[in-house]
């Protein structure tokens, strides 16, 4: 497909397949491709973290190197730069501390490497009602 056509068709593609943005769509496609083209002898692990925020414990409480995505909301609210955050009243905000995600990545990789047979594994790194909060 021509690049210009692709740009023009972007809103239509997102709407047709019901994705809110290009990030989620392309991440979805990447998962499909990795599983499809994986060599049977390769151990492939995919993790799906939710919104990653600052650390809970390691290397120290509250460490972060990025104010992108979820960090931007927390940073601007915490510093008093913005006082309100507009969102839908019933949408849950699922966040997970950065060190939990890193531990999950390392542990799942080590576990897969220790398995006798190479296989495909997928893990969710999301809170289950423990740290969900409504953004309104």
């Amino acid at each position: 497909m021509e690049p210009q056509v692709l740009e023009r068709e972007e809103p239509k593609i997102l709407q047709q397949y019901k994705f809110p943005n290009t990030y989620t769509l392309t991440k979805n496609l990447a998962e499909q491709a990795l599983k499809k083209y994986r060599h049977p002898r390769l151990r492939l692990i995919i993790t799906r973290p939710a919104v990653v925020t600052s650390t809970q414990k390691f290397p120290f409480k509250g460490w972060t190197d990025s104010i992108a995505a979820g960090g931007a909301v927390i940073y601007t609210l915490g510093m008093g730069i913005s006082s309100r955050d507009l969102s839908y009243p019933n949408v849950l905000n699922c966040t997970v501390p950065c060190d939990y995600v890193v531990n999950g990545i390392l542990v799942s990789t080590a576990h897969a490497a220790a398995l006798p047979e190479p296989q495909f594994k997928l893990y969710h790194l999301c809170p289950s009602g423990v740290s969900d909060y409504k953004q309104s």
Binding site: P3, L6, E7, E10, I13, Y17, K18, F19, P20, N21, T22, Y23, T24, L25, T26, K27, N28, L29, A30, E31, Q32, A33, L34, K35, K36, Y37, R38, H39, L42, R43, L44, I45, I46, T47, R48, P49, A50, V51, A68, A69, C94, I105, S108, T109, A112, A113, L122, Y123, H124, L125, C126
Partner: protein, 84 residues
């Protein structure tokens, strides 16, 4: 350099992605999709590879209906197998 990587690397952790959610679809595809494909090719080239880890996102299946349970597995393709 590439030879050294393919000779020595045993584990690959791919955490790279563009988290600019509204990138033009071309850039998002290049980074998030073709980036992952290239890493997979690299992993297949590595002689001593043990594991490849790819970090996706919990929101990779946001096209499913509200309150749907998302299993810990790759969902069937919504776009079809031969969209490329």
């Amino acid at each position: 350099m590439r030879k050294r990587v393919t000779d020595e690397v045993q584990v690959i952790l791919n955490t790279a992605a563009s988290i600019n959610f509204d990138d033009p679809i071309r850039e998002a595809l290049q980074i998030n999709y073709f980036g992952a494909r290239r890493i997979l090719d690299l992993a297949h080239e590595c002689k001593n590879i043990i594991a490849l880890h790819h970090v996706s996102t919990a929101f990779a299946n946001t096209n499913t209906p509200n309150n749907a349970v998302i299993p810990e597995d790759v969902m069937p393709s919504v776009i079809g197998e031969n969209w490329e």
